[in-house]
């Protein structure tokens, strides 16, 4: 039997035993996404439906490519964190919980890497 109190044992640790790291990263990505979203949405909305050449021209621009890559990374990171909260809230079966957390990590990671690679490929083809 430890002499430590329950409080000191629990302090700083959430259910996933990682303290406030999850909360903090969610806020950091959220704040970063405010300007990134504004900068991303307008070139994207203009490019959507404007044809292959126009889309390539948009993302061969260094600034647009930089914003798109940053947005993809931070948005999918934020999405992964948010989906983790939703999974934690609603999925009570341990095996399913673990499976969904794994799928969430892999799916968002794959989206992010594929998206970054695609934009970079367009940007460097100029």
């Amino acid at each position: 039997m430890s002499y430590r109190t329950d409080y000191s044992r629990a302090r700083g640790w959430g259910t996933a035993h990682e303290g406030v790291h999850h909360f903090w990263m969610q806020r950091i990505t959220a704040i970063s996404l405010i300007p990134l979203t504004i900068f991303f949405v307008f070139p994207f909305a203009n490019a959507l439906g404007s044809g292959y050449e126009a889309v390539r021209e948009t993302y061969q621009n260094g600034w647009n490519a930089f914003i798109a890559i940053s947005f993809i990374i931070v948005a999918l990171w934020h999405l992964k964190l948010g989906l983790e909260v939703i999974i934690d809230d609603y999925v009570h079966s341990k095996p399913l919980h673990l499976t969904l957390l794994l799928a969430n990590f892999i799916l968002n990671g794959a989206f992010a890497i594929a998206g970054v690679f695609a934009v970079a490929k367009i940007a460097f083809s100029a």
């Binding site: 329950d6 044992r9 629990a10 806020r27 959220a30 704040i31 996404l33 405010i34 979203t37 949405v41 307008f42 994207f44 909305a45 203009n46 959507l48 439906g49 044809g51 292959y52 889309v55 390539r56 993302y59 798109a68 993809i72 948005a75 999918l76 999405l79 948010g82 989906l83 939703i86 968002n108 989206f111 594929a114 998206g115 690679f117 695609a118 934009v119 490929k121 367009i122």
Partner: protein, 130 residues
């Protein structure tokens, strides 16, 4: 403290016992719009991959995103992004301990609910005029 016996106590009341209120709607939509971004993220990344691949493949994917159903999904996504952004700012303000009284919660919830469609229209207008 998972080893603590929590007893056979009643569960906390579930959704249906609460009166529908503006703050509940804003909060519920925050989660739903965030969750829905899986679909948007998939479509946008797919579109970038297509643009990096070939003109023929891009024509297919761009065609799907600009079809009537694709346009509807992108419009709902834009509104969802606006709602999540505005309500997210609300959350960030709460994190500093501000605007947590009932009046402020109501006012800011209405602001988000009405502001999100307005912001959606504003973005569309800027894109159309630009």
């Amino acid at each position: 403290m998972a080893d603590v016996n929590r007893g056979n106590r009643p569960l906390s009341p579930h959704l249906q016992v609460y009166r529908m209120y503006v703050t509940i709607v804003a909060s519920g939509l925050h989660r739903i719009t965030g969750f829905g971004m899986i679909v948007t993220a998939f479509l946008v990344v797919w579109w970038f991959i297509a643009a990096a691949a070939s003109p023929a493949y891009f024509a297919i994917v761009d065609g799907i995103l600009t079809s009537w159903i694709g346009t509807l999904v992108m419009l709902v996504s834009l509104w969802g992004l606006c709602h999540h952004l505005l309500n997210g700012i609300r959350h960030l303000i709460w994190d500093t301990g501000r605007m947590l009284d009932t009046d402020a919660l109501d006012r800011t919830a209405w602001f988000v609910l009405l502001g999100a469609p307005a912001l959606t229209v504003l973005v569309l207008l800027i894109v159309q005029l630009g």
